[in-house]
């Protein structure tokens, strides 16, 4: 199992985890009717990947345009998993993508980045015009 690909639906995000290349990406919107049911398998395959001993660099692109409060908890869980492996010496870079003028999403990025000590966190601005 060297990748996890879940195409985005109306209310669940697109998940593109390329484990071989160390590139993780989430796109679209996240407000699943069953948060645990959706994120459970995502956590599981991410955990398996992070537990592998041959730890190369990891890049995580957070490109969600919207997520609800229960998805925020799930995302925080992913961030904490990444911080743990980064603390163990694995290079991890998180890129938090924000559409220009989306102050709410920018603020959320700051909230999530607050206690990252070992993960390199960067904010990237995207042009406006994605799905509303």
């Amino acid at each position: 199992m060297d990748s996890l690909t879940l195409p985005a639906t109306g209310r669940t995000p697109g998940v593109f985890f390329d484990f071989a290349g160390g590139h993780l990406r989430m796109t679209g919107e996240s407000y699943p009717d069953d948060v645990a049911g959706f994120f459970g398998p995502v956590f599981e395959s991410l955990r398996d990947f992070l537990d592998r001993p041959d730890g190369g660099a990891i890049r995580f692109d957070m490109e969600l345009l919207y997520f609800n409060s229960s998805s925020a908890k799930a995302l925080m869980n992913i961030f904490q998993m990444l911080e743990t492996v980064a603390r163990g010496g694995r290079p991890v870079t998180v890129t938090w993508c924000v559409e220009e003028n989306d102050e709410s999403m920018r603020e959320l990025g700051e909230d999530f980045a607050e206690d990252l000590r070992h993960v390199v966190f960067q904010m990237r601005e995207l042009p406006a015009g994605g799905a509303p």
Partner: protein, 183 residues
């Protein structure tokens, strides 16, 4: 008579600036469909993406609160679990701002805790709400809350004015709870 009766309900809604209203059993499916209609309407009126997402975000959290916490529920597991929760949601315009009011029945025993949470949120300024959000984001959910605290903070955060709430006692066991948010 029939048309007159319903025209009067419709007129009452119109006069209050209400654009969408739904009363009855709510489900995740209804949340999705109403949410899409809300976003399409705002997009047609040329609201920008961040504004639409702010309104949508308050809408989703309010609807999910009803679906999860309404004291008036039907559930069955005919094949898959469906949760139907009675409540009402109205969305309208008032003084150039969008407002969302949600109402549902709650048990009287839950009123003090809910009041306490809402009063705490109302007492906080922008920075206070932000700090509270950061704390709760890292907190394990408390028993039976299914993440309600973070949802309420999210609502307060996206609101442009302080949130308004009210309770109306129905009987010895239940009250009707209303939450009004302007975005």
């Amino acid at each position: 008579m029939l048309a007159q009766q319903y025209a009067s309900i419709k007129r009452d809604l119109d006069e209050r600036g209400i654009v969408f209203s739904f009363s009855g059993y709510l489900s995740e499916g209804i949340l999705y469909s109403l949410g899409e209609a809300l976003r399409e309407k705002m997009a047609l009126e040329e609201a920008d993406g961040p504004t639409i997402r702010r309104v949508f975000s308050v809408f989703v959290e309010q609807m999910q609160n009803i679906i999860r916490y309404s004291a008036e529920k039907m559930s069955g597991s005919a094949g898959r679990t469906v949760e139907l929760s009675a409540g009402m949601v109205t969305i309208g315009m008032e003084g150039g701002k969008v407002f969302i009011v949600c109402g549902n029945t709650v048990r009287n025993s839950e009123v003090p805790r809910l009041k306490e949470r809402l009063d705490h949120l109302k007492s906080l300024d922008r920075d206070g709400i932000k700090t509270y959000y950061r704390e709760q984001l890292r907190e394990e959910p408390d028993d039976g809350s299914r993440g309600a605290t973070l949802g309420l903070i999210e609502i307060a955060r996206r609101a442009s004015d302080p949130i308004d709430y009210d309770f109306d006692a129905m009987d010895a066991d239940r009250s009707f709870f209303c939450l009004k948010v302007r975005v």
